[in-house]
Protein backbone atom coordinates (compact mmCIF):
# COMPACT_ATOMS: atom_id res chain seq x y z
CA UNK A 1 0.00 0.00 0.00
CA UNK A 2 1.03 3.56 -0.83
CA UNK A 3 2.02 5.85 2.06
CA UNK A 4 -0.10 8.98 2.13
CA UNK A 5 2.00 10.59 4.84
CA UNK A 6 5.58 9.95 5.71
CA UNK A 7 7.49 11.84 8.34
CA UNK A 8 11.22 11.29 8.49
CA UNK A 9 13.67 12.34 11.19
CA UNK A 10 11.46 15.31 12.02
CA UNK A 11 12.68 18.00 14.41
CA UNK A 12 10.35 20.80 15.40
CA UNK A 13 9.44 23.05 18.28
CA UNK A 14 9.12 26.65 19.39
CA UNK A 15 11.73 29.34 19.14
CA UNK A 16 14.93 28.05 20.70
CA UNK A 17 13.23 25.02 22.15
CA UNK A 18 12.99 21.72 20.32
CA UNK A 19 10.12 19.49 21.28
CA UNK A 20 10.38 16.88 18.58
CA UNK A 21 13.87 15.47 18.29
CA UNK A 22 13.59 12.55 15.98
CA UNK A 23 10.23 11.40 14.74
CA UNK A 24 9.54 8.85 12.02
CA UNK A 25 5.95 8.12 11.15
CA UNK A 26 4.13 6.66 8.20
CA UNK A 27 0.43 6.56 7.43
CA UNK A 28 -0.82 4.47 4.52
CA UNK A 29 -3.99 4.87 2.46
CA UNK A 30 -7.15 4.15 4.48
CA UNK A 31 -5.16 3.35 7.58
CA UNK A 32 -5.86 4.50 11.13
CA UNK A 33 -2.68 5.22 13.00
CA UNK A 34 -2.41 6.41 16.58
CA UNK A 35 0.40 8.23 18.28
CA UNK A 36 0.33 7.61 21.99
CA UNK A 37 2.56 8.78 24.77
CA UNK A 38 2.54 10.61 28.06
CA UNK A 39 1.66 14.27 28.46
CA UNK A 40 4.39 16.48 27.05
CA UNK A 41 5.77 13.79 24.75
CA UNK A 42 5.15 16.05 21.77
CA UNK A 43 1.99 14.54 20.29
CA UNK A 44 0.28 17.87 19.69
CA UNK A 45 3.49 19.43 18.41
CA UNK A 46 3.81 16.60 15.93
CA UNK A 47 0.31 17.15 14.52
CA UNK A 48 0.84 20.91 14.39
CA UNK A 49 4.11 20.43 12.54
CA UNK A 50 2.48 18.08 10.05
CA UNK A 51 -0.29 20.61 9.47
CA UNK A 52 2.20 23.50 9.29
CA UNK A 53 1.16 25.53 12.32
CA UNK A 54 4.70 25.00 13.62
CA UNK A 55 7.72 25.19 11.37
CA UNK A 56 9.77 22.04 11.11
CA UNK A 57 13.50 22.57 11.60
CA UNK A 58 14.96 19.35 10.30
CA UNK A 59 13.71 16.30 8.51
CA UNK A 60 11.00 15.77 5.97
CA UNK A 61 7.24 15.72 5.81
CA UNK A 62 5.94 14.11 2.64
CA UNK A 63 2.30 14.04 1.67
CA UNK A 64 1.43 11.73 -1.15
CA UNK A 65 5.12 11.51 -2.00
CA UNK A 66 5.60 15.30 -2.21
CA UNK A 67 7.65 17.27 0.30
CA UNK A 68 5.36 19.79 2.04
CA UNK A 69 7.66 21.26 4.70
CA UNK A 70 7.41 24.75 3.23
CA UNK A 71 3.70 24.82 2.44
CA UNK A 72 1.51 27.16 4.46
CA UNK A 73 -1.40 25.52 6.34
CA UNK A 74 -4.03 26.77 3.90
CA UNK A 75 -2.16 25.13 1.00
CA UNK A 76 -1.99 21.89 2.97
CA UNK A 77 -5.77 21.93 3.35
CA UNK A 78 -5.93 22.44 -0.38
CA UNK A 79 -4.03 19.22 -1.09
CA UNK A 80 -6.14 17.13 1.27
CA UNK A 81 -4.70 17.44 4.75
CA UNK A 82 -6.86 18.53 7.65
CA UNK A 83 -6.44 18.92 11.38
CA UNK A 84 -8.85 18.84 14.31
CA UNK A 85 -7.07 20.17 17.41
CA UNK A 86 -8.20 19.19 20.88
CA UNK A 87 -9.39 22.77 21.43
CA UNK A 88 -11.68 22.27 18.40
CA UNK A 89 -11.26 25.92 17.37
CA UNK A 90 -14.83 26.41 16.18
CA UNK A 91 -16.43 29.76 15.34
CA UNK A 92 -18.67 30.11 18.37
CA UNK A 93 -20.85 32.90 17.02
CA UNK A 94 -21.48 31.40 13.62
CA UNK A 95 -24.18 28.80 13.08
CA UNK A 96 -23.39 25.11 12.71
CA UNK A 97 -24.11 25.36 9.00
CA UNK A 98 -21.87 28.41 8.57
CA UNK A 99 -19.07 26.60 10.39
CA UNK A 100 -19.45 23.70 8.00
CA UNK A 101 -19.61 25.97 4.99
CA UNK A 102 -16.30 27.50 5.97
CA UNK A 103 -14.88 24.02 6.27
CA UNK A 104 -15.35 23.80 2.52
CA UNK A 105 -13.47 27.04 1.94
CA UNK A 106 -10.79 25.77 -0.42
CA UNK A 107 -11.60 26.01 -4.12
CA UNK A 108 -11.54 22.24 -4.53
CA UNK A 109 -14.10 21.70 -1.78
CA UNK A 110 -16.18 24.78 -2.51
CA UNK A 111 -17.29 23.47 -5.87
CA UNK A 112 -18.58 20.36 -4.21
CA UNK A 113 -19.97 22.04 -1.14
CA UNK A 114 -23.61 20.97 -1.33
CA UNK A 115 -22.67 17.35 -1.81
CA UNK A 116 -20.23 17.40 1.06
CA UNK A 117 -22.75 19.08 3.32
CA UNK A 118 -25.30 16.43 2.55
CA UNK A 119 -22.81 13.66 3.29
CA UNK A 120 -21.72 15.23 6.54
CA UNK A 121 -25.29 15.73 7.69
CA UNK A 122 -26.03 12.14 6.84
CA UNK A 123 -23.05 11.09 8.85
CA UNK A 124 -23.86 13.31 11.85
CA UNK A 125 -27.67 13.64 11.82
CA UNK A 126 -27.40 15.44 15.13
CA UNK A 127 -25.70 18.35 13.42
CA UNK A 128 -28.43 18.59 10.82
CA UNK A 129 -30.98 19.00 13.62
CA UNK A 130 -28.93 21.87 15.00
CA UNK A 131 -27.77 23.47 11.80
CA UNK A 132 -29.14 26.93 12.63
CA UNK A 133 -27.87 26.94 16.18
CA UNK A 134 -24.74 28.92 17.09
CA UNK A 135 -21.71 26.65 17.49
CA UNK A 136 -20.94 28.12 20.91
CA UNK A 137 -24.22 26.79 22.28
CA UNK A 138 -23.54 23.12 21.44
CA UNK A 139 -22.62 20.51 24.03
CA UNK A 140 -19.05 19.23 24.25
CA UNK A 141 -19.77 16.09 22.27
CA UNK A 142 -21.64 18.02 19.60
CA UNK A 143 -18.79 20.48 19.34
CA UNK A 144 -16.37 17.62 18.78
CA UNK A 145 -18.67 16.24 16.10
CA UNK A 146 -18.86 19.67 14.48
CA UNK A 147 -15.08 20.03 14.56
CA UNK A 148 -14.66 16.67 12.83
CA UNK A 149 -17.49 17.45 10.43
CA UNK A 150 -15.97 20.82 9.55
CA UNK A 151 -12.70 19.06 8.80
CA UNK A 152 -14.50 16.53 6.60
CA UNK A 153 -16.04 19.39 4.61
CA UNK A 154 -12.61 20.05 3.09
CA UNK A 155 -12.79 16.62 1.43
CA UNK A 156 -9.55 15.47 3.07
CA UNK A 157 -7.44 12.44 2.33
CA UNK A 158 -5.81 12.50 5.74
CA UNK A 159 -7.45 13.60 8.95
CA UNK A 160 -5.21 14.62 11.85
CA UNK A 161 -7.05 14.32 15.15
CA UNK A 162 -5.73 15.57 18.45
CA UNK A 163 -7.20 13.96 21.57
CA UNK A 164 -10.79 13.64 20.33
CA UNK A 165 -11.79 12.37 23.77
CA UNK A 166 -10.75 15.54 25.62
CA UNK A 167 -13.40 16.69 28.03
CA UNK A 168 -15.99 14.17 26.85
CA UNK A 169 -17.90 11.63 28.88
CA UNK A 170 -16.74 8.04 28.14
CA UNK A 171 -19.97 7.17 26.40
CA UNK A 172 -19.69 10.19 24.12
CA UNK A 173 -16.08 9.29 23.37
CA UNK A 174 -17.24 5.85 22.41
CA UNK A 175 -19.79 7.15 19.95
CA UNK A 176 -17.23 9.53 18.42
CA UNK A 177 -14.81 6.62 17.97
CA UNK A 178 -17.50 4.51 16.38
CA UNK A 179 -18.11 7.30 13.90
CA UNK A 180 -14.41 7.57 13.19
CA UNK A 181 -14.26 3.85 12.39
CA UNK A 182 -16.93 4.33 9.74
CA UNK A 183 -14.84 7.03 8.13
CA UNK A 184 -11.90 4.75 7.42
CA UNK A 185 -13.45 3.41 4.26
CA UNK A 186 -12.87 6.88 2.78
CA UNK A 187 -9.70 8.33 4.23
CA UNK A 188 -6.68 7.88 6.46
CA UNK A 189 -6.62 9.06 10.04
CA UNK A 190 -3.74 9.98 12.33
CA UNK A 191 -4.81 10.30 15.95
CA UNK A 192 -2.85 11.61 18.89
CA UNK A 193 -4.40 10.07 21.95
CA UNK A 194 -3.82 9.59 25.65
CA UNK A 195 -6.79 7.31 25.94
CA UNK A 196 -4.82 4.17 25.14
CA UNK A 197 -7.78 1.77 25.17
CA UNK A 198 -9.57 3.68 22.46
CA UNK A 199 -6.40 3.98 20.43
CA UNK A 200 -5.77 0.27 20.62
CA UNK A 201 -9.32 -0.54 19.67
CA UNK A 202 -9.47 1.56 16.55
CA UNK A 203 -5.93 1.65 15.16
CA UNK A 204 -4.25 -0.45 12.51
CA UNK A 205 -0.90 0.62 13.83
CA UNK A 206 0.43 2.52 16.80
CA UNK A 207 3.47 4.69 17.42
CA UNK A 208 4.76 5.44 20.87
CA UNK A 209 6.21 8.90 21.37
CA UNK A 210 8.45 9.70 24.29
CA UNK A 211 10.37 12.92 24.88
CA UNK A 212 9.98 13.90 21.26
CA UNK A 213 11.18 10.61 19.80
CA UNK A 214 9.32 7.63 18.35
CA UNK A 215 10.46 4.81 20.60
CA UNK A 216 8.30 1.93 19.39
CA UNK A 217 5.72 1.06 16.80
CA UNK A 218 3.64 -1.85 15.63
CA UNK A 219 0.20 -3.40 15.46
CA UNK A 220 -1.88 -3.14 18.64
CA UNK A 221 -1.67 -6.90 19.14
CA UNK A 222 2.13 -6.86 19.03
CA UNK A 223 2.42 -3.87 21.26
CA UNK A 224 0.03 -4.91 23.97
CA UNK A 225 2.13 -7.97 24.62
CA UNK A 226 5.00 -5.78 25.47
CA UNK A 227 5.04 -5.53 29.24
CA UNK A 228 6.93 -2.27 29.23
CA UNK A 229 4.18 -0.55 27.38
CA UNK A 230 1.56 -2.03 29.59
CA UNK A 231 3.20 -0.71 32.69
CA UNK A 232 3.91 2.65 31.13
CA UNK A 233 0.59 3.37 29.50
CA UNK A 234 -2.24 1.12 30.48
CA UNK A 235 -4.29 2.39 33.32
CA UNK A 236 -2.62 5.77 33.37
CA UNK A 237 -5.23 7.30 31.21
CA UNK A 238 -8.23 5.60 32.73
Amino acid sequence: MEAILSVERLQAGYRGLNILWDVDIEVKEREVVSVIGPNGAGKTTLLKAIFGLIESKEGEIKFNGVRINDLKPHKRVDIGLTYVPSERELFPELTVEENLELGAYTKRARNNKDNLLEQVFEFFPRLKERKDQLAGTLSGGEQQMLAIARALMSAPRLLLLDEPSTGLAPIVTLSIYEKLKELTSELSILIAEQNVHQAFAISDRIYILENGRTVASGKPSELSEDSLIKSAYFGVSE
Binding site: P73, H74, D78, L90, P92, L94, L102
Partner: protein, 285 residues
Protein backbone atom coordinates in the same frame (compact mmCIF):
# COMPACT_ATOMS: atom_id res chain seq x y z
CA UNK B 1 -33.55 71.33 15.88
CA UNK B 2 -34.33 68.99 13.02
CA UNK B 3 -31.35 70.43 11.16
CA UNK B 4 -29.23 69.60 14.18
CA UNK B 5 -30.48 66.02 14.15
CA UNK B 6 -29.80 65.65 10.45
CA UNK B 7 -26.31 67.03 10.91
CA UNK B 8 -25.83 64.56 13.71
CA UNK B 9 -26.96 61.62 11.61
CA UNK B 10 -24.68 62.66 8.75
CA UNK B 11 -21.71 63.00 11.08
CA UNK B 12 -22.68 59.73 12.75
CA UNK B 13 -22.66 57.94 9.40
CA UNK B 14 -19.18 59.29 8.74
CA UNK B 15 -18.04 58.08 12.13
CA UNK B 16 -19.55 54.67 11.42
CA UNK B 17 -17.73 54.43 8.09
CA UNK B 18 -14.47 55.25 9.84
CA UNK B 19 -15.00 52.96 12.78
CA UNK B 20 -16.00 49.81 10.85
CA UNK B 21 -12.61 49.80 9.13
CA UNK B 22 -10.80 50.37 12.39
CA UNK B 23 -12.71 47.48 13.97
CA UNK B 24 -12.04 45.09 11.09
CA UNK B 25 -8.35 45.96 10.94
CA UNK B 26 -7.99 45.55 14.68
CA UNK B 27 -9.88 42.29 14.65
CA UNK B 28 -7.90 40.72 11.84
CA UNK B 29 -4.51 42.36 12.05
CA UNK B 30 -4.23 42.94 15.79
CA UNK B 31 -3.19 46.50 14.95
CA UNK B 32 -4.99 49.47 16.43
CA UNK B 33 -4.50 51.67 13.38
CA UNK B 34 -3.62 55.13 14.67
CA UNK B 35 -3.17 56.27 11.06
CA UNK B 36 -6.79 55.46 10.21
CA UNK B 37 -7.89 59.11 9.99
CA UNK B 38 -5.23 59.71 7.34
CA UNK B 39 -7.27 57.66 4.85
CA UNK B 40 -9.99 60.31 5.09
CA UNK B 41 -7.46 63.06 4.45
CA UNK B 42 -5.91 61.25 1.49
CA UNK B 43 -9.32 60.87 -0.16
CA UNK B 44 -10.46 64.38 0.71
CA UNK B 45 -7.37 66.03 -0.73
CA UNK B 46 -7.26 63.87 -3.85
CA UNK B 47 -10.95 64.25 -4.67
CA UNK B 48 -11.02 67.94 -3.77
CA UNK B 49 -7.93 68.76 -5.84
CA UNK B 50 -8.95 66.75 -8.88
CA UNK B 51 -12.45 68.18 -8.95
CA UNK B 52 -11.11 71.73 -8.57
CA UNK B 53 -8.85 71.03 -11.55
CA UNK B 54 -11.97 70.34 -13.56
CA UNK B 55 -11.83 66.55 -13.53
CA UNK B 56 -15.23 64.87 -13.62
CA UNK B 57 -16.60 64.67 -10.11
CA UNK B 58 -17.25 60.94 -10.12
CA UNK B 59 -13.76 60.19 -11.39
CA UNK B 60 -12.25 62.48 -8.74
CA UNK B 61 -14.16 60.80 -5.97
CA UNK B 62 -13.41 57.28 -7.20
CA UNK B 63 -9.73 58.04 -7.53
CA UNK B 64 -9.62 59.45 -4.03
CA UNK B 65 -11.39 56.48 -2.49
CA UNK B 66 -9.27 53.95 -4.37
CA UNK B 67 -6.12 55.74 -3.32
CA UNK B 68 -7.13 55.36 0.33
CA UNK B 69 -7.68 51.64 -0.29
CA UNK B 70 -4.29 51.33 -1.93
CA UNK B 71 -2.72 53.13 1.03
CA UNK B 72 -4.32 50.55 3.30
CA UNK B 73 -2.94 47.66 1.28
CA UNK B 74 0.50 49.25 1.15
CA UNK B 75 0.48 49.63 4.93
CA UNK B 76 -0.41 46.02 5.42
CA UNK B 77 2.09 44.67 2.94
CA UNK B 78 5.08 46.80 3.97
CA UNK B 79 5.10 48.69 7.24
CA UNK B 80 3.07 46.28 9.31
CA UNK B 81 4.70 43.05 8.10
CA UNK B 82 6.97 42.77 11.17
CA UNK B 83 4.02 43.23 13.54
CA UNK B 84 2.30 40.04 12.45
CA UNK B 85 5.28 37.97 13.52
CA UNK B 86 4.92 39.21 17.09
CA UNK B 87 2.32 38.24 19.63
CA UNK B 88 0.55 39.52 22.72
CA UNK B 89 1.39 42.88 24.25
CA UNK B 90 4.40 43.31 22.00
CA UNK B 91 2.29 43.01 18.85
CA UNK B 92 -0.05 45.69 20.14
CA UNK B 93 2.72 48.07 21.23
CA UNK B 94 4.73 47.80 18.02
CA UNK B 95 1.55 48.22 15.97
CA UNK B 96 0.58 51.31 17.96
CA UNK B 97 3.95 52.97 17.65
CA UNK B 98 4.37 52.18 13.96
CA UNK B 99 0.96 53.55 12.99
CA UNK B 100 1.45 56.57 15.26
CA UNK B 101 4.76 57.30 13.52
CA UNK B 102 3.13 56.88 10.13
CA UNK B 103 0.28 59.22 11.09
CA UNK B 104 2.72 61.88 12.23
CA UNK B 105 4.78 61.49 9.05
CA UNK B 106 1.74 61.84 6.79
CA UNK B 107 0.39 64.78 8.83
CA UNK B 108 3.70 66.58 8.44
CA UNK B 109 3.82 66.17 4.66
CA UNK B 110 0.22 67.27 4.29
CA UNK B 111 0.61 70.30 6.56
CA UNK B 112 3.72 71.24 4.56
CA UNK B 113 2.08 70.89 1.15
CA UNK B 114 -1.36 72.29 1.96
CA UNK B 115 -1.02 74.74 4.85
CA UNK B 116 -4.39 75.93 6.10
CA UNK B 117 -6.38 74.63 3.12
CA UNK B 118 -9.69 72.83 3.41
CA UNK B 119 -11.03 70.58 0.69
CA UNK B 120 -14.63 70.23 -0.30
CA UNK B 121 -16.42 68.51 -3.12
CA UNK B 122 -19.02 70.59 -4.91
CA UNK B 123 -22.03 69.04 -6.54
CA UNK B 124 -23.64 71.25 -9.16
CA UNK B 125 -27.26 70.55 -8.21
CA UNK B 126 -29.98 72.86 -6.87
CA UNK B 127 -31.23 72.62 -3.28
CA UNK B 128 -34.13 70.27 -2.73
CA UNK B 129 -36.90 70.73 -0.22
CA UNK B 130 -38.95 68.09 1.54
CA UNK B 131 -41.86 68.86 3.82
CA UNK B 132 -40.75 72.46 4.01
CA UNK B 133 -37.19 71.60 5.00
CA UNK B 134 -34.42 72.61 2.63
CA UNK B 135 -31.75 69.98 2.02
CA UNK B 136 -28.43 70.75 0.49
CA UNK B 137 -28.20 68.19 -2.29
CA UNK B 138 -24.59 67.49 -1.45
CA UNK B 139 -25.56 66.55 2.11
CA UNK B 140 -28.27 64.30 0.79
CA UNK B 141 -25.80 62.59 -1.53
CA UNK B 142 -23.29 62.29 1.30
CA UNK B 143 -25.88 60.54 3.44
CA UNK B 144 -26.86 58.22 0.64
CA UNK B 145 -23.26 57.33 -0.13
CA UNK B 146 -22.67 56.46 3.51
CA UNK B 147 -25.84 54.43 3.98
CA UNK B 148 -25.35 52.46 0.78
CA UNK B 149 -21.70 51.72 1.57
CA UNK B 150 -22.55 50.48 5.05
CA UNK B 151 -25.38 48.29 3.78
CA UNK B 152 -23.13 46.85 1.10
CA UNK B 153 -20.48 46.09 3.69
CA UNK B 154 -22.98 44.31 5.91
CA UNK B 155 -24.32 42.35 2.97
CA UNK B 156 -20.80 41.36 2.01
CA UNK B 157 -19.98 40.17 5.54
CA UNK B 158 -23.26 38.27 5.95
CA UNK B 159 -23.73 36.63 2.62
CA UNK B 160 -20.50 36.02 0.75
CA UNK B 161 -17.99 33.28 1.43
CA UNK B 162 -15.19 35.82 1.75
CA UNK B 163 -17.33 37.87 4.12
CA UNK B 164 -17.97 34.81 6.23
CA UNK B 165 -14.25 34.09 6.21
CA UNK B 166 -13.66 37.58 7.62
CA UNK B 167 -16.17 36.95 10.39
CA UNK B 168 -14.59 33.56 11.02
CA UNK B 169 -11.13 35.09 11.44
CA UNK B 170 -12.57 37.72 13.79
CA UNK B 171 -13.85 34.90 16.00
CA UNK B 172 -11.03 32.41 15.77
CA UNK B 173 -7.90 32.84 13.74
CA UNK B 174 -6.59 29.32 14.25
CA UNK B 175 -9.96 27.90 13.33
CA UNK B 176 -9.83 29.89 10.10
CA UNK B 177 -6.43 28.45 9.25
CA UNK B 178 -7.81 24.97 9.85
CA UNK B 179 -10.45 25.64 7.23
CA UNK B 180 -7.78 26.46 4.69
CA UNK B 181 -8.45 30.20 4.77
CA UNK B 182 -5.43 32.23 3.71
CA UNK B 183 -5.47 34.61 6.64
CA UNK B 184 -2.75 36.86 5.22
CA UNK B 185 -4.68 37.55 2.03
CA UNK B 186 -7.92 38.19 3.86
CA UNK B 187 -6.14 40.61 6.14
CA UNK B 188 -4.85 42.53 3.14
CA UNK B 189 -8.39 42.60 1.79
CA UNK B 190 -9.60 44.03 5.08
CA UNK B 191 -7.01 46.81 4.91
CA UNK B 192 -8.27 47.57 1.40
CA UNK B 193 -11.85 47.64 2.69
CA UNK B 194 -10.89 49.73 5.73
CA UNK B 195 -9.13 52.25 3.52
CA UNK B 196 -12.07 52.42 1.13
CA UNK B 197 -14.66 52.81 3.89
CA UNK B 198 -12.61 55.58 5.51
CA UNK B 199 -12.17 57.12 2.07
CA UNK B 200 -15.95 57.11 1.65
CA UNK B 201 -16.20 58.87 5.01
CA UNK B 202 -13.89 61.45 3.47
CA UNK B 203 -16.21 61.77 0.47
CA UNK B 204 -19.22 62.20 2.74
CA UNK B 205 -17.35 64.83 4.71
CA UNK B 206 -16.13 66.62 1.59
CA UNK B 207 -19.69 66.72 0.26
CA UNK B 208 -21.45 67.83 3.42
CA UNK B 209 -18.81 70.25 4.70
CA UNK B 210 -15.07 70.11 4.09
CA UNK B 211 -12.06 67.97 4.92
CA UNK B 212 -9.45 69.58 7.15
CA UNK B 213 -6.06 68.08 6.23
CA UNK B 214 -4.82 68.66 9.78
CA UNK B 215 -7.58 66.60 11.37
CA UNK B 216 -6.11 63.13 10.81
CA UNK B 217 -5.34 62.33 14.42
CA UNK B 218 -8.62 63.84 15.58
CA UNK B 219 -10.56 61.63 13.16
CA UNK B 220 -8.60 58.62 14.35
CA UNK B 221 -9.48 59.45 17.94
CA UNK B 222 -13.15 59.80 17.05
CA UNK B 223 -13.10 56.44 15.28
CA UNK B 224 -11.43 54.93 18.32
CA UNK B 225 -14.07 56.35 20.60
CA UNK B 226 -16.84 54.97 18.42
CA UNK B 227 -15.28 51.54 18.17
CA UNK B 228 -14.78 51.36 21.93
CA UNK B 229 -18.37 52.29 22.63
CA UNK B 230 -19.53 49.78 20.02
CA UNK B 231 -17.36 46.96 21.33
CA UNK B 232 -13.93 46.81 19.75
CA UNK B 233 -14.64 43.72 17.67
CA UNK B 234 -18.13 44.43 16.45
CA UNK B 235 -19.03 45.92 13.07
CA UNK B 236 -22.70 46.31 14.00
CA UNK B 237 -21.67 47.90 17.26
CA UNK B 238 -19.46 50.37 15.42
CA UNK B 239 -22.32 51.41 13.14
CA UNK B 240 -24.84 51.86 15.94
CA UNK B 241 -22.32 53.61 18.17
CA UNK B 242 -21.28 55.87 15.28
CA UNK B 243 -24.84 56.99 14.64
CA UNK B 244 -25.61 57.39 18.32
CA UNK B 245 -22.49 59.38 19.12
CA UNK B 246 -22.96 61.50 16.00
CA UNK B 247 -26.46 62.47 17.07
CA UNK B 248 -25.54 62.96 20.73
CA UNK B 249 -22.57 65.07 19.73
CA UNK B 250 -24.67 67.28 17.47
CA UNK B 251 -27.43 67.78 20.03
CA UNK B 252 -25.10 68.37 22.97
CA UNK B 253 -22.93 70.73 20.92
CA UNK B 254 -26.04 72.66 19.98
CA UNK B 255 -27.10 72.90 23.61
CA UNK B 256 -23.82 73.47 25.48
CA UNK B 257 -21.09 74.12 22.91
CA UNK B 258 -18.58 71.96 21.06
CA UNK B 259 -15.84 71.71 23.69
CA UNK B 260 -18.11 70.56 26.44
CA UNK B 261 -19.87 68.16 24.06
CA UNK B 262 -16.60 66.51 23.14
CA UNK B 263 -15.55 66.33 26.78
CA UNK B 264 -18.84 64.64 27.64
CA UNK B 265 -18.32 62.11 24.85
CA UNK B 266 -14.81 61.37 26.06
CA UNK B 267 -15.98 60.88 29.62
CA UNK B 268 -18.61 58.46 28.31
CA UNK B 269 -15.87 56.55 26.53
CA UNK B 270 -13.73 56.28 29.64
CA UNK B 271 -16.82 55.11 31.50
CA UNK B 272 -17.51 52.45 28.88
CA UNK B 273 -13.91 51.21 28.93
CA UNK B 274 -13.98 50.97 32.71
CA UNK B 275 -17.38 49.47 33.27
CA UNK B 276 -18.35 47.70 30.07
CA UNK B 277 -15.16 47.04 28.11
CA UNK B 278 -17.00 44.74 25.71
CA UNK B 279 -18.86 47.81 24.47
CA UNK B 280 -22.47 48.85 24.70
CA UNK B 281 -23.60 47.06 21.57
CA UNK B 282 -21.17 44.18 21.39
CA UNK B 283 -22.41 41.44 19.13
CA UNK B 284 -20.64 39.18 16.77
CA UNK B 285 -19.70 41.01 13.57
Amino acid sequence: MIEVLIDGILFGLQLALLAVGLVLIFGLGGVLNLAHGEFVIITGITAGMLSSLGVNILISITTGVLLAGVAGVAMDRTLLRPVYKLSGEMEILVGLFLTLGLAAAIDGVIAYLFPGLHFSINVPVEAISFFGLAFRPSSLIAGLVAVISLLLLLFFLRNTTTGKAIRAILQNQTGARLCGINVDNIRTLVFLLGGIMAGLAGVAQGLSSSVDPGAGLELTSLALIVSVVGGVRSVYGAIIAGLLLGIVNAVVSYLVGTYLALIILLVVVIGVVLFKPSGLFARSV
